[in-house]
Subunit: 334 residues, 2 copies
């Protein structure tokens, strides 16, 4: 009564346990009549498959691990939503791991994933360390990189072109007639920050300008608070730039607040553009121009690739998918 097993169902339906298992896993292999009888027994007894026993015997589970850097960041939240939806549609459960940017916690999460014998892992690595992921593959755990380019061609990866995004942002500012342009960014170690700067420089070069003109302000964090501090730095300068590109929307929102409080008009005095197009970008007082990424889609597609690799290991071809970002023009830019 505590637990009702496949045997109980078999007894009730007058078949063998093997047949019940077949109804569960290969319904097409079992005759119509018996199937409905078994299904009825399942319903009547309230049977629910013991996932662990199934995993143990089959050698693989129906769960995937999702390791993100910061679950508090709307970007990752959106990705997680996409992952969750797709996984759920395909009958997989998602085990969530939040590394908070700490390598130790990431390591611990991967261990948990390994213990649970997850079928695969979706990860936005917090730093460059191929070895760690290699160890997963040795355990027959598929890996798909999320928002990170592939480190080798033998793995799947889903990312958004940050160079293009950076170029879009600065190109837009230049078309608005911007002269001096500032770039507010996060820690240098973050790949996305570098790529977006590279794009910005490309846009300058394409306009016949010197990429070195870009005035860069690097902050230790990519939060709204850091953005406001960046505004103070900017205001301390002799002259304001005509336009500012922030490496993410949180920085941009903080910057916006800092500028407005100092009496600087946006976009009249300074144009401002962010990155990510989080919900709050459109909701701010002066709505924020930004670079939109297909975040939710990123999660969905990454999951799709992962499950494809799991379910069809032989026909699966590794793919590196690169999405393109979109420019969203709102009030904060001319």
């Amino acid at each position: 009564m505590a637990t009702v097993s496949i045997k109980d169902v078999a007894a009730r339906a007058g078949v063998s346990p093997g047949t019940v298992s077949n109804v569960l896993n290969r319904p097409e292999k079992v005759a119509g009549g018996t199937r409905v009888r078994v299904e009825a027994a399942i319903r009547e007894l309230g049977f629910v498959r013991h996932g662990s026993a199934s995993t143990l015997r089959a050698g693989h589970s129906r769960t995937i691990g999702l390791s993100v850097i910061d679950i508090g960041n709307p970007f990752f939240t959106d990705v997680a939503a996409g992952v969750e939806d797709m996984a759920s549609e395909r009958g997989y459960a998602v085990i969530l791991g939040n590394s908070s940017g700490s390598r130790l916690k990431e390591e611990r999460n991967l261990l948990v994933f390994a213990e649970q014998r997850v079928r695969g892992v979706l990860i936005t690595p917090s730093d460059e360390d191929p070895g760690r992921l290699e160890r997963l593959r040795e355990r027959d755990i598929a890996v798909v990189l999320v928002d990170h380019p592939a480190e080798r061609s033998s793995q799947c990866a889903v990312a958004v072109n940050d160079v293009t995004g950076g170029a879009m942002a600065v190109g837009h500012l230049l078309r608005g007639g911007a002269g001096r342009i500032g770039y507010v960014t996060g820690p240098a170690a973050i790949r996305q920050c570098q790529d977006r700067r590279r794009g910005a420089e490309q846009a300058l070069a394409a306009a016949g300008r010197d990429p070195a003109e870009l005035r860069e302000i690097a902050m230790p964090a990519m939060t709204a608070k850091a953005g406001q501090q960046a505004a103070e730095k900017l205001l301390a300068d002799d002259a304001l730039p005509d336009a500012v590109f922030c490496a993410n929307d949180l920085l941009a929102l903080g910057m916006l607040r800092g500028l407005l409080q100092a009496g600087v008009r946006v976009p009249d005095d300074v144009s401002l553009i962010g990155y990510d197009d989080i919900d709050f970008a459109s909701a701010s007082t002066v709505s924020l121009s930004s670079i939109r990424q297909p975040t939710y889609q990123l999660g969905r597609v990454a999951t799709e690739l992962l499950l494809d690799e799991c379910d069809n290991p032989d026909t699966h071809a590794h793919q590196q998918i690169m999405f393109q970002p979109d420019l969203v023009v709102r009030e904060s830019t001319r």
Copy 2:
């Protein structure tokens, strides 16, 4: 080589599998010398325990399920972070389920949890249906309600007093000299919205005013967009209220934008207060007064209760914990 089992470790260390299991689960029961030998073997072989086999034999897993209404809402994200941290500290993995407010998806998530034989479930129920949770308890799965009062004394629940919070918000507005007060809220079915209104009415009554004065504007969603629409409604009225209380910060941010765009000064013309104190509340152009909830703590404590119930089922006493919210005064209120 593909999988290294407890047996391989045993062979390598020159002991029996049972001893290895003891080293893993009751290290104090095994002699010092053998323990270090076994631990060495584990390290050398890269052994990682097969969670499913363990679960199968032991009868219970080291995972918990977390079912939230909307993973995109910063409130739930904070809760999830608290849950994840505490669970991780205690060696538990978290399976994430996002119901998106859909009863069907919630149902499906609970099924997945049951299949995985999770030790317990943390849930913010999307509606009132005690039966569903009762079925979980019959399967020996502990349940703790999150941000929802207990439905009976035989279960744990962690919530924040929304009535008090509502009273705090409106009390603050009244102290600021507000005459007419508006209440912008979400769907009537949402318990939190009702409780907060009740608190608002209590504050009016306590100030010797008629609770019926409260001008309520109910929106179908609790988003920034809905907040801006609410502002339009408000502006269409003959006279603006002196102050507005919004049932969450997203509504308030939208309202703020709507008012400012219409040339209404905040807080000079209208005071504005939100609820939740999400990060963006302090980052908005006119920083938002709000009611802070111990969100992260909510997740941590709920998880602690759940794991206590799991690990000490005999001594565990069910608790209904009610946190108190805090008033955070910023620029948007007088």
